[in-house]
């Protein structure tokens, strides 16, 4: 979020022209990210509201739907994301001392874990396509099923798809941060971008922490 302008007369490294000093810049960057996350919460909130409403209307469909999901893969993904939150926190920690190699290493770990999550998600999606569980596109669920099962899977794909999109954007930003780190942009004084990206990454993880029980676990025996 922070702005970088070429250093000119006595400006500290990384201080954008519109700010008076580094603390003001950092405060703004953090507040900006928090505000952005608030909008993200409301964005996903629309999904959660829809989920809650339909779940209360058609518990049967949600019960059946959750049995179609692969709880093992979902569980592995949950662990992966929690672990990636940890590596991201470490990267932020390293950035406070401006430890270039440390930052790079933990960002790389985070990127690898994020990618692993997406790969597993890909296999889960493929399995659903094979079973004909994509509403509208390939929809031929076998056996007896609730008439509103399609609603469950619409929500499943809508919610996890939007989450995956956030992961992909996050992975892109990670690569960008790594390039910048390698170039030596971040120092002990100027490291706000890593810190605010960390907030974003934790947020995306937390969304999954909600999605996993709602979609996979609830209503299962």
């Amino acid at each position: 979020m922070a702005e970088h302008v070429d250093d000119h007369h006595g400006h500290p490294h990384g201080l954008a022209h519109q700010f008076e000093d580094m603390p003001q810049q950092k405060e703004s960057a953090l507040l900006g990210m928090w505000s952005f996350l608030v909008t993200e919460i409301l964005f996903f909130g629309g999904y959660f509201a829809t989920y809650l409403y339909y779940r209360s209307q058609y518990p049967l469909a949600f019960y059946e739907g959750s049995h179609e999901l692969d709880i093992l893969l979902g569980g592995i993904n949950t662990v992966i994301l929690i672990f990636s939150s940890f590596t991201m926190a470490m990267a932020v920690h390293k950035s406070h001392s401006g430890d270039k190699n440390g930052i790079l290493m933990f960002l790389a770990f985070t990127l690898i874990l994020g990618t692993a999550f997406l790969v597993i998600k890909y296999f889960e999606y493929m399995a659903k396509i094979e079973h004909g569980l994509v509403p509208g596109l390939v929809w031929h669920p076998h056996g007896d099923h609730s008439p509103n099962l399609a609603l469950y899977f619409s929500l499943y794909f809508g919610m996890t798809g939007m989450h995956a999109l956030h992961m992909i954007i996050g992975a892109g930003l990670l690569i960008w941060l790594m390039v910048k780190t390698a170039r030596g942009t971040y120092t002990a004084e100027y490291n706000a971008p890593i810190e605010i990206f960390g907030l974003y990454w934790h947020f995306v993880d937390i969304v999954w922490i909600f999605l996993f029980p709602l979609l996979y676990l609830l209503g299962r025996h």
Binding site: M1, E3, A16, H17, Q18, F19, E20, Q24, E27, S28, L31, G32, S35, F36, V38, T39, E40, L42, F43, F44, G45, G46, Y47, A49, T50, Y53, Y54, Q57, Y58, A61, P135, G136, L137, P147, N148, A150, L151, S154, L155, F157, G158, M162
Partner: protein, 544 residues
């Protein structure tokens, strides 16, 4: 506001560099990070969309001259009002004051060099332009016919117009307004000059702060709603169509959860403009500053709890309807507080008859009628009859055009010397202001009567007995059109040939008038100002 040091700006010569002559090429504009230039970019782009939306309005009114619906085919008419509504709301009115006057003035008013995130500010304009281009492509490619409300299952399943593209365009436009809102919130929190406490902020800033809160909290919900709609339409995911297992009324809840708060995005900024102008034309501190400031925040918060008043006849439960109705009545009270405080500001003031004063008077009249007729609609007993009739159309034009557009025009005239450093012809401007007022009333007052008589909206074929009032309305629209065209002409003239304006032609208070040049320099101030006074301190303030 009395400022620590004086002089530097006044002393500067006529050829001083300012934000306008600091770089000329197209690139210096398209890659600018200066909030003032971005504001100008926005002004140009929203004016284009206003003109397009206005042309659609003109065609609507022409068609409605006769009851048979002979000018345009039904589908064409449906596309006309849909595109009129979508363009006017998403591409004109939502960004109108915040992205132009707000962008330009907010940093200057709080004594900052720029917004907190200049690049995000530029990004928001590009996102807006991308949305606008997409929208235009959709219009050229056949348009959209869902109404601006996109009700399902019509929009998701039955319509065969460009719903997907327009939905995506509206999604993008929403994203652009989230970015603006985010920038404003952070800027007001962290960028205030030394001494600029919260209760010294001009009320314009308070109003924009409240607006930004709504943009941050409401807009993402419309974004997700449009995503769901697009998923359903594109892939057949079932969310809202009962044939796919969904519930069409859920869409309405999600849509209005944003779109009601959004109507306050479309009025709060003009209330901010109103506060500034009332103080200046009366040369007096705004009466009850804290009440006016907090009523903005109250409107922003309560505004989130009333969306159901658009759905009294939709089949929602009676008790839900009652709750929405009572909160809607509550949210009218802060507007009442503002109105009375503005009136009280004029009491024993020193009122000068400038163009902004004409707009202030016009705003009083029109906003009042628009707001008061909202009370007919929040009232379940009457709304059953009035819902989806011309009464609603008249209500929202009074408040959106009579409120926000009049506020926008007034603000443009008020700050024009600041933005351009030029003067405009006063007499012409006053004539235009009067034409807007008269034309507006002639256009929309008959629609209240039509509405109570039961003429439904979105009808291009209507029973004969409604014709006379419709003709009156069309007549008014032509007067109104001239009232809008006049400023477009003389303001452009003023830009090129207009006489130079002094730094503070109105003798107004506020950092933008007292401390920044006209037009301001790129970083607004030579030295960060230090604020030592309350807002609008035209003289010593007497407490009660």
């Amino acid at each position: 506001m009395a400022i620590a040091e004086h002089g530097a700006i006044e002393a500067a010569g006529a050829t001083e560099t300012n934000y306008l002559n600091n770089g000329y090429g197209l690139k210096s504009w398209l890659l600018t990070k200066d909030h003032k230039r971005i504001a100008v970019l926005y002004m140009i782009s929203i004016s284009i969309f206003f003109a397009i939306g206005g042309v659609f309005a003109g065609l609507i009114r022409l068609e409605l001259l006769t009851p048979q619906g002979d000018l345009a085919h039904s589908d064409t008419y449906n596309k006309l009002f849909s595109m009129h509504g979508i363009i006017m709301i998403f591409f004109f009115l939502v960004p109108s004051i915040p992205a132009t006057l707000g962008n330009f003035l907010l940093p200057i008013m709080i004594g900052a060099k720029d917004l907190a995130f200049p690049r995000i500010n530029l990004l928001s304009w590009y996102v807006y332009v991308a949305a606008g281009i997409l929208g235009t492509v959709a219009v050229i490619g056949g348009g959209v016919d869902t109404g601006w409300t996109f009700y399902t299952p019509y929009s998701s399943t039955y319509s065969n117009s460009n719903v997907l593209i327009v939905g995506f365009a509206a999604f993008l436009a929403g994203f652009s307004s989230i970015l603006t809102g985010l920038n404003f919130v952070v800027t007001v929190h962290t960028m205030r000059a030394p001494g600029m406490t919260w209760f010294r902020l001009p009320l314009f800033v308070w109003a924009h702060y409240a607006t930004s809160l709504i943009m941050l909290l409401g807009t993402p919900v419309i974004a997700i709603t449009l995503v769901l709609l697009m998923l359903e339409r594109a892939f057949g995911f079932g969310f809202f169509d009962p044939r796919l297992g969904g519930d069409p009324v859920l869409f309405q809840h999600l849509f209005w959860f944003y779109s009601h708060p959004a109507v306050y995005i479309m009025i709060l900024p003009s209330m901010g403009v109103m506060s500034e102008m009332v103080a200046c034309i009366s040369r007096k501190r705004v009466f009850g500053y804290e009440f006016v400031a907090f009523s903005s925040v109250a409107i922003a918060i309560l505004g989130f709890l009333v969306w159901g008043h658009h759905m009294f006849v939709s089949g929602q439960s009676t008790y839900a309807g009652m709750v929405f109705s009572v909160i809607t009545f509550l949210v009218a009270v802060p507007s009442a507080i503002k109105t009375f405080n503005w009136a009280a500001t004029m009491y024993k003031g020193s009122i000068v008859y400038t163009t902004p004063m004409f707009y202030v008077m016009s705003y009083f009249g029109l906003f009042l009628i628009g707001g008061l007729t909202g009370l007919f609609l929040s009232n379940m007993g009457l709304d059953i009859h009035l819902h989806d009739t011309y009464f609603v159309v008249a209500h929202f034009h009074y408040i959106m055009v009579g409120g926000q557009v009049v506020g926008y025009l007034g603000g443009m005239h008020f700050w024009w010397p600041k933005i351009t450093g030029k003067k405009y012809p006063e007499l012409l401007a006053k004539i235009a202001a009067c034409m807007v007022f008269l034309g507006f009333n002639l256009t929309f007052f008959p629609q209240f009567i039509l509405g109570y008589m039961g003429m439904p909206r979105r009808y291009h074929v209507y029973p004969d007995e409604f014709q006379i009032l419709n003709v009156a309305s069309t007549l008014g629209a032509s007067v109104l059109a001239i009232g809008y065209l006049l400023p477009a002409i003389y303001l452009i003239w003023s830009l090129i040939k207009g006489p130079k304006s002094e730094q503070n032609p109105w003798g107004a208070k506020g950092l933008e008038w007292e401390k920044a040049a006209s037009p301001p320099t790129t970083f607004n101030f030579d030295k960060t100002p230090v604020v030592t006074e309350e807002a609008y301190a035209y003289g010593p303030i007497e407490e009660h």
